[in-house]
């Protein structure tokens, strides 16, 4: 009897830890998006086309050459949420985009971009996600991540996070960079 109660209890406990990954199209942007929730960590990624990247950064007053460079990258809009009751730490610098040929690509994030921009005297430091993130209960963030891949290129995103001292990892399979903008 106690085994039975334990089984019922465990089955209910197990629910929030199951990764629910899905892919669909963002109705507003008609771009593919991926979402998963696992062990209190929610990650959503939406393809961002080069035209949109250009528009967003130009509107912030960044010089054309700087905007052109970032628009050549494979860019995603991300929303990361802590849905647990404890602090979550995510080192995005450890995340890798693994392409079909097995090559692991690092994401290019805030400090890498701002380092380049500061050399040109640009102090802008928004829109791009930071390498190190900590989220207390209820915290969330949205921002861009970039990786040096071509339009339409496919990869698996291997990502990890730490919750209550334990490291969890997961992967988004078949994530695809936004297609090239029609000229």
């Amino acid at each position: 009897m106690s085994k039975f109660i334990l089984l019922v209890f465990l089955s209910v406990l197990y629910v929030p830890t199951i990764a629910d990954t899905n892919q669909n199209k963002s109705p507003a942007l008609q771009q593919s998006k991926w979402k998963t929730v696992s062990h209190g960590f929610s990650l959503e990624m939406v393809q961002v086309k080069a035209d949109y990247v250009r528009a967003v950064f130009l509107a912030r007053g960044l010089p054309a050459d700087v905007v052109e460079k970032i628009s050549q990258y494979c860019v995603f809009g991300n929303i990361i949420r802590n849905q647990s009751n404890a602090q979550i730490v995510a080192r995005l610098s450890d995340w890798r985009a693994v392409t079909r040929d097995g090559v692991k690509h690092k994401l290019k994030l805030k400090s890498a971009w701002t380092k380049e921009w500061s050399k040109k005297g640009i102090a802008f430091r928004w829109l791009i996600l930071s390498e190190d993130q900590s989220f207390d209960a209820g915290d969330w963030i949205q921002g861009f991540s970039t990786v040096a891949l071509k339009p339409g290129q496919q990869f698996d995103l291997h990502y990890s996070w730490k919750l209550q001292g334990k490291t969890y990892s997961n992967k988004f399979k078949g994530v695809t960079c936004a297609p090239a903008s029609k000229s």
Partner: protein
């Protein structure tokens, strides 16, 4: 309890749980977690960095001048959708407590007065709290802000008591109670 001892009943119950589990899993994965009122509490509170910024009318404001009041500092930008989304709830909170030594300093990032003024004119409810300008993001850097919006609640002694990364419903009863307890 007698029913639970019946092996047939146990099997039916187990079958029912197994049938319902996938539905529950899907719901757990997609449901919005109602954590938009949760704040990280600093115990003990930490000193809030002082600053000197100008408002829409060019008047200077320092944090120090508000010692003896509870201050909600909100870092935001017009191009940040969750920043805009949380503004009406900030206005509600401000309306509730403005006559009780509570103020809001909404510190805009990387934008000029003209742009913010134009933006304010498009809002359904024009915020009546103070908007300040941090054009080079020096103040947000001092507060180690990683993304927008981010908010800090400062007690009457000028110390950071709570922090929120990402948008919140500031007129949620839980947050209202927290502010009330500081006043």
């Amino acid at each position: 309890m007698r029913l639970l001892r019946n092996p047939d009943f146990k099997h039916y119950l187990l079958l029912l749980i197994l049938m319902l589990l996938p539905i529950y899993c899907m719901a757990a994965g997609t449901a919005k977690t109602p954590t938009n009122y949760r704040l990280k509490q600093f115990t003990p509170p930490i000193p809030a960095p002082d600053f000197l910024l100008v408002d829409m009318d060019g008047e200077k404001h320092s944090l120090k001048q508000y010692r003896g009041k509870v201050v909600l500092i909100n870092f935001w930008a017009t191009w940040c959708p969750p920043c805009i989304h949380e503004m009406p709830s900030m206005e509600n909170l401000y309306t509730k407590f403005k006559s009780h030594n509570f103020i809001i300093l909404a510190i805009n990032q990387w934008e000029d007065e003209e742009r913010v003024f134009e933006f304010m004119g498009q809002l359904k409810t024009i915020p009546s709290f103070t908007v300040l300008f941090d054009p080079d993001s020096k103040v947000s850097s001092a507060y180690k802000v990683q993304g927008l919006p981010s908010s800090y609640i400062i007690d009457k002694q000028g110390r950071i008591v709570y922090r929120a990364k990402g948008g919140r419903d500031f007129d949620h009863p839980v947050i209202v109670e927290k502010i009330k307890s500081l006043l």
